[in-house]
Symmetry: C2
Subunit: 226 residues, 2 copies
């Protein structure tokens, strides 16, 4: 068995969602980090609730809704212009520093790369271009095509469908522990990029490999036969 | 049309999940509130993820798992005995102060009451007894019977099934905004007990009624015809 491709989560894994903190700080001094944290956690919560209740709205909408709630919750007087400015930052999030080099090296060595993300195609295309990752990904897969967010099995199935391969011949990489575990449940060969040295989520299973940055990925891939 | 019954969420609505703070504080001075917050939010997250991925474990297990993660995340050295002590507190959570009086009044006036909860039957029975609510609920409905947590429609369907009535003839009461909205999506007549004056979740819909404590419920019920 050979690993056919490596799929990456986008937000939090390829792109640093907390790179909006600087902008948030400039708008709301000393509250930028709190706004970013609340925004991100509510964004995920809304994806899970909407999928459970079969009430899909795309990730652009959900991200904007979560921002609105988070600003209200922190009692920050967010104007429509500031809302648009913060949301727009999602189209050009900073990549984590080591990512480009690792992705280029894998791509150059012939590994098929892709992204499997909650984001819409338009959001992903913009962020990939902005991060200088254009041309690295053979597959840019968005849950928007099925209207269900991760960890719904239908979301992960986009990868096996696009690659026409079983899950155990595909590696899946995420910095979100819950996402790496969801992908493990689905059957992928999983690697958790645990950048913040967080404890493992307690969900009866664990990703197959763990590293502290994407630099640790090539060794994992070599071990599983990519 | 007459309202046939009033169903209550249990944790956060009938019982104060943060009544564990005092115990947590005694175990970990000045960290009790942080532990309680992390525990509760991770508990909910695990219910959503497990339901999305069809990996049900009961609420006792999930609550314990979330406690383990939260203590690790806050770097609190939780011993097995302390873990058991905190988890055991879930069996005798304090009711919110006004609850008993309001529930007794509704029950005395002939309104059929029930609870529809993520908790297991054993957890619910213990908490109801401990809170002095024994005999008030005609229906004690646990998602454990179907293995899917709220806001999965199957969870809310337990209410219409038990009462043999359509959702729009049943009132549903929750202090968790996401739960009140999930029940609204399902079709119940919903009342959000917004104890903490939180902003409304941004999910394209809103509960039919809102109050600041359970004292505001009878007026809502009168308005909708209970």
């Amino acid at each position: 068995m050979r690993i056919k491709a490596v799929l990456f989560d986008a937000y939090g894994t390829l792109f640093d969602v907390h790179s909006v903190i600087a902008l948030a700080e400039s708008l709301f001094p000393r509250r930028g980090a709190a706004l970013s944290q609340a925004w991100r956690s509510r964004q995920l919560e809304y994806t899970w609730l909407r999928t459970l209740s079969n009430r899909y709205r795309d990730f652009w909408q959900v991200t904007g809704d979560a921002l609105t709630w988070s600003a209200q919750s922190l009692q920050l007087p967010l104007t429509p212009a500031q809302h648009a400015q913060l949301l727009d930052a999602y189209l050009h999030l900073q990549p984590f520093p080591e990512n480009i080099e690792v992705l280029r090296r894998l791509h150059a060595s012939g590994v098929v790369l892709g992204t499997l993300s909650n984001g819409t195609a338009a959001m992903l295309d913009a962020a990939i271009d902005s991060a200088g990752m254009h041309g690295l990904f053979t597959h840019v897969l968005s849950v928007d095509s099925i209207g269900r967010y991760k960890t719904d099995p239908g979301a992960y199935k986009l990868g096996t469908g696009a690659l026409d391969a079983p899950a155990n011949e595909i590696a899946f990489v995420s910095s979100n522990c819950w996402d790496a575990i969801g992908a493990t449940w689905f059957g992928y060969r999983t690697f958790w990029v645990n950048r913040g040295n967080a404890p493992m989520d307690q969900l009866d299973t664990s990703p197959e490999g763990i590293g502290s940055s994407l630099r640790d990925l090539p060794q994992f891939l070599a071990r599983i036969g990519a």
